[in-house]
């Protein structure tokens, strides 16, 4: 229960942050050249000044900026993110349609990076300064420096163009209608390359942190005790070291949530996945500022939720955290 109240308090503390972000970005977007009505008129193929005035009045754009901001926040409290003139739909439903591919992609990449980061980190730490460690650490450095979009393109060249093992893009095969397990497999095969692409840099970060944290824990007294009482090495690592070495990894999930969401903008564009990131890119290109603001809100919210879950996980792994405070 204490864990919940602790994490709950941190969640409550992030509400002002969320408002700060929204107000900041709202004011920022006021400086952008052109507004919703300009975008709409351009799409209709132009129109006279009177129509523009009518439309501005209809959308509440003729009010003062503070009044518009108050209006926006008041609508937001009722989960109304405004109207996207480009898509001709409420922003909330546009975003909701695009959310599942992104969440799927992020979850898959995170699991991939976390699992292999853990495994490689442990292997590197066990053979510290011998060849497995050198190899893994070098690979980690290279992965860290690889631009994700470039890796994605090269993966397309190798796996889709030359080997023809995997589809080069899209979320599912639209040519054929599939149901049940076949649809799941189809989507999975479309997500393999994007997952690797997005997860690569995080794999590099996780394995480096896991290695450092393993090395740190391996030198602690309780590990010596465990060895002294005659436990075999596998047992020492899996039961005693791993659980303690995992803590920094879990912290990292929360810290990296935003970076991962940002990375999905690029990866979704490379693989033309219809996700939130691609929507962000499209709304910049099409000057759909209402949608852009909605994406800012949703992505900040997503980061906050991930951090909340991380807090819970952390307290579950380390009982001292809920006991101290």
């Amino acid at each position: 229960m204490r864990i919940l109240s602790l994490a709950g308090r941190r969640l409550a503390a992030s509400i002002p942050t969320l408002f700060l972000i929204l107000i900041g970005v709202f004011l920022l977007l006021q400086m952008a050249p052109g507004d919703t009505v300009d975008a709409l008129m351009a799409q209709m193929g132009g129109g006279d000044a009177a129509t523009a005035r009518e439309l501005r009045k209809f959308y509440g754009l003729d009010l003062s900026i503070p009044a518009q901001l108050a209006n926006y926040l008041w609508h937001l409290v009722r989960l109304d993110l405004g109207f996207s003139s480009i898509y001709g739909k409420p922003v909330a439903s546009v975003i909701l349609e695009r959310l599942p591919p992104t969440i799927l992609l992020m979850t898959a990449s995170l699991s991939f990076a976390f699992f292999f980061g853990l495994v490689f980190g442990v292997i590197a730490a066990r053979g510290v300064n011998r060849w497995p460690d050198t190899l893994i650490s070098t690979l980690g450095l290279i992965f860290y420096a690889t631009p994700s979009f470039w890796f994605g393109l090269m993966a397309i060249v190798v796996f889709s163009v030359y080997l023809q093992w995997l589809p080069p893009g899209g979320f599912e095969d639209i040519g054929t209608v599939q149901t049940g397990i076949w649809r799941v497999l189809d989507i999975a095969s479309h997500l393999v390359l994007p997952t690797l692409t997005l997860g690569l840099i995080f794999l590099a970060i996780y394995l480096r942190i896991m290695r450092a944290s393993m090395l740190e824990v391996l030198n602690l007294d309780f590990v010596r005790t465990a060895r002294a009482k005659g436990l075999d090495e596998t047992h020492v690592v899996t039961r005693h070291v791993l659980r303690n070495a995992l803590l920094p990894m879990v912290t990292l999930i929360g810290l990296q949530a935003g970076t991962m969401l940002g990375g999905s903008v690029v990866v979704e564009s490379v693989f033309s996945l219809p996700g939130l990131g691609r929507l962000a890119y499209e709304s910049v290109v099409q000057r759909d500022l209402n949608t852009l603001l909605g994406i800012v809100f949703v992505s900040a919210l997503l980061v906050i939720v991930v951090n909340f879950v991380t807090d819970l996980l952390y307290a579950r792994l380390d009982p001292r955290i809920s006991a101290d405070s």
């Binding site: 860290y144 631009p147 163009v161 940002g262 990375g263 690029v266 910049v284 500022l289 800012v296 980061v303």
Partner: protein, 276 residues
Amino acid sequence: MDALKRYFRSPAAVIGLILLLIVIAMAISAGWLYPRDPLSLAGRPLIWPFASPRFLLGTDNSGRDIAAQIFYGARISLLIGGVATAIAILIGILVGAFAGYYGGWVDNILMRITDAFQTLPNFVLLLVLVAVFGSTLTTVTIAVGIVSWPAPARLTRAEFLSLRNREFVQAGRTLGMRDVKIILGEILPNALPPVIVYASVVMAVAILLESALAFLRLSDPNVASWGNLIGLGRDVLRVQWYVSAIPGIAILATVLAVSLVGQGLNDALNPRLKSR
């Protein structure tokens, strides 16, 4: 001197330094080796690398020399990476120093703002900034700097928190020194080394951020940048994949060089941490 010796004892750090020097040499010699505008038409489009002695790395889809664009791209990457990092570190030090030194409500407000910047994914904020201010070289550089300051700010703040009640600071206060003088003249020089080392991480990320932006065609299209070239090569990816592949290797090498040098500096300056 000791630190220098320690630096050169690490092979990774030396490799990083050599790579970085090569990239810098490319940036300097670009104008001398390729006096023509790298974005001007140079020959037949889509010549493969090593196929023509005139174009060592081939030409792209519009017949522009890839090698020339790689050399000029080194300038752009180092320029944007360097200036954006300087901006980020400067804002970070200012915010972190004031928050850490004064504490209380100043700290509270500044950290709330830092939180806000860290909660919003930095690439999304970058998109917003580009949407509002356009994508010229100057605006993109400033935008990359603006999205990168929170981490250095937190680092500076932590350093200031641990230093602000040390004896030399108290001595300064007793002598009646003004706060600004204590912050800039007394505490900052002691807090600076870890922040400077961290600058390499900021620079690596800044270069990656700009190239991603350029790849999406949201950066300045009128300069020869590696990201632009990768984005262009995407149109001919199926057959002429080298147009995208070559600049990607350049980005990889540069980011690798910057992070290796940063890590080498870190290990050389904090020898006790090295054994980990």
